[in-house]
């Protein structure tokens, strides 16, 4: 399926778990990727398609060395998933909707609680039902969250999560623990088509399908006590992880701007190796329009996760756990699909992260006070049967990856193959035997998302840790899983 280069690009080890593809052909800069031996094996199996995509990204105008891929890299559309690319707007640097992805500002939010696993156990089934009822999957769901008026949506697209908090769906402290305070400045809702708004309006507070989920978990191992303390994480404590994004609103923005950029391409002085890499100079009218629309969609995503946080708190209350009992508070909310203007090496660069997480080091001025000494929390979801991880950003990430780290496990099986392998199996019962209660909108979703469909996230996290672009803090085991 992938159209990227099939031949193995020449790469050489460069540092611990790091490999370099020296600039050749149309590449403007070197490409660097992080990999364990298992990832190298996977790259060979896929015919080095994702490395071909990384090589294509390295050919885009204004890219700052190097083009990067995290150890969860795999084949995407245009950009590989796990890709990080920084562009200098002062030197013709571009913005690419495909480098952000369809699900603009998709991300993960971790909530910590004051509950222990023992308090969770007797309520597990009822809580799973309450979460499933309170947090709809979206299209086709009979469960709905209150709709906004057009005017309310307009404000929300500018204010992001703070709109939700101002309207009673959360606490100001939630915003203090959200990347960029839960809203991106420079949003321009005027760039959103009526169709994007129509797709978004009924979907606020919904999870979506595919790999999006809501999990109640238990901290089962702590690797860095100081960082875990700063986040309020301790062995045996209950946490909640929310993974979703900007829903149909963001998808529509991406679709429309890829089309718009392709139409404008003849006016720009560069060729594209792949149309899904459609790009425009950051400083062009098209580039500025996309960034305004993308930031509005990002604010929708922050608001969506904030609204879901409110629904999660309500679900805990539904099963008799008052706020003083559950103590649910936001540890952090971090995005893994966006493009942000950031300072690196004295320059302001537009850093694209597509399936990669910002991972700023201790002392960075953008971090909330609580994490100034330990570094920015990074959440790496695994599959529903094994574990997810909490990491923190490092100086190594700031130096080597424009302050970026990994975002997940990556699929091992195609969706069709996962379904074939799940045939005649009772996945709900298998997960129950692992101590995981699951609620899913359809058996098909459960099959596509079964644990064996994913690579072991521990390998990705260990690679990041050994490469020094993130540091392990804690491991979280799933107990209740809601799939869209």
């Amino acid at each position: 399926m992938p159209e990227a280069a099939r031949a193995r690009p020449d790469f050489e080890p460069d540092a611990a778990r790091r490999y370099r593809i020296r600039r050749y052909g149309a590449m403007r800069v070197d490409a660097v990727f992080y990999a364990s031996s298992a990832v190298l094996e996977m790259l060979e199996q896929e015919g080095y398609a994702s490395l071909g995509q990384l090589v294509n990204v390295a050919s885009l105008p204004g890219i700052v060395t190097p083009a990067l891929a995290m150890p969860d890299l795999h084949w995407g559309y245009g950009f590989p998933i796990g890709g990080v690319a920084a562009f200098d707007p002062e030197r013709g640097g571009v913005v690419s909707p495909g480098g952000v992805g369809y699900d603009i500002n998709c991300g993960v939010r971790l909530l910590a609680s004051s509950l222990t696993e023992a308090a969770l156990a007797p309520r597990a089934e009822r809580l799973a039902d309450a979460l499933f009822r309170r947090v709809p999957s979206g299209i086709g769901s009979k469960r709905t969250v209150a709709r906004l008026s057009e005017g309310e949506l307009e404000r929300l697209l500018v204010d992001g999560a703070s709109w939700m908090v101002a309207h009673g769906f959360g606490d100001p402290d939630d915003l203090a623990h959200t990347e960029s305070g839960g809203h991106l400045a420079g949003a321009d809702p005027g760039q959103l088509s009526p169709r994007a708004r129509l797709r978004g309006l009924p979907q606020l507070g919904t999870l979506g399908s595919g790999n999006h989920f809501l999990e109640v978990q238990v901290v089962d191992e702590v690797y860095d006590v100081a960082a875990a303390d700063a986040m309020g994480l301790a062995v045996g404590k209950v946490t909640v992880l929310i993974h979703t994004g900007s829903r149909g609103l963001g998808h529509q923005v991406c679709t429309e701007f890829v089309e718009r950029f392709l139409n404008a391409l003849p006016r720009f002085d560069f060729d594209l190796p792949d149309r899904q890499l459609a790009a425009a100079p950051v400083a062009s009218p098209e580039g500025r329009a996309y960034l305004g629309a993308m930031r509005a969609a990002a604010n929708f995503a922050f608001a969506n996760r904030q609204r879901i946080t409110h629904s999660v708190r309500q679900a805990f209350e539904d099963v008799g756990l008052a706020p003083r009992d559950h103590g649910l508070r936001v540890v952090y909310d971090v995005a893994h699909n966006n493009a942000k203007l950031e300072k690196h090496g004295g320059r302001t660069l537009l850093v694209h992260r597509k399936g990669a997480t910002r991972a700023f080091p201790p002392g960075h001025p953008e971090l909330p006070a609580a994490y100034r000494e330990v570094g920015q929390p990074v959440f790496v979801p695994g599959d529903m049967g094994r574990a997810s991880y909490v990491l923190v950003g490092t100086e190594g990430a700031m130096r080597d990856t424009f302050g970026s780290s990994c975002h997940g496990a990556g699929r091992r099986l195609s969706r069709h193959r996962a379904k074939r392998e799940a045939r005649h199996r009772d996945l709900t019962e298998e997960l129950r035997r692992l101590g995981v209660v699951v609620r899913a909108s359809s058996p098909g979703t459960l099959a596509e998302e079964m644990p064996e469909a994913y690579k072991d996230v521990a390998d990705v996290v260990d690679t990041v840790h050994e490469a020094g672009i993130g540091r392990k803090v804690a491991r979280l085991r799933p107990r209740l899983v809601v799939k869209g």
């Binding site: 399926m1 995407g76 369809y102 699900d103 129509l198 792949d274 149309r275 359809s442 098909g444």
Partner: protein, 153 residues
């Protein structure tokens, strides 16, 4: 649809399909059916002449694009919007494709017969985020036409 062949693309990342058909019309209609199969396990099919299921509605659609493959993308994007936002499932379509000249050199008109989305009866599988340009292809092949489409799910 005699002479039409659908091959699902089975990749770890996402989903898609390859289509072969004797005519552009057959190919665009096969793409509609293939998209529905990604969205639902039991998509509705065309009704017998004279039969009209509850809630059925029909309408005309016109689209234009600068190239044939981009017209296919626009067609599928339009159908996605119809299902996922309007809640209308195009159970059948009679697309007609023609070269129209000008910057938008290709035009499609179609009469769509739609029924309401019913997640239970049609066995909804999950959302499709978008139709991508990645690997998008629509070319003449062996006296007919061949297309490849990758979806982001």
């Amino acid at each position: 649809m005699p002479g039409t062949r659908l091959t699902p693309l089975d990749h770890t990342g996402d989903v898609g399909f390859e289509l072969h058909a004797a005519s552009l019309e057959a190919l665009f209609d096969a793409a509609r059916a293939a998209l529905l199969r990604e969205l639902m396990a039991a998509p509705p099919t065309a009704q017998a002449p004279g039969a009209r299921p509850a809630g059925a509605r029909s309408f005309e659609l016109t689209l234009a694009a600068p190239a044939l493959d981009r017209l296919l993308l626009r067609w599928l994007d339009e159908l996605l919007f119809l299902v996922q936002v309007r809640g209308r499932v195009p159970a059948s379509a009679r697309p007609a494709v023609r070269a129209s000249g000008g910057p938008n050199g290709w035009e499609l008109t179609a009469r769509l017969e739609t029924v309401p989305l019913d997640v239970r009866a049609q066995r909804w599988r999950g959302e499709v985020k978008g139709v991508t340009y990645h690997g998008l292809e629509l070319v003449p092949d062996d006296g007919g036409w061949r297309a490849r489409v990758v979806l982001d799910v």
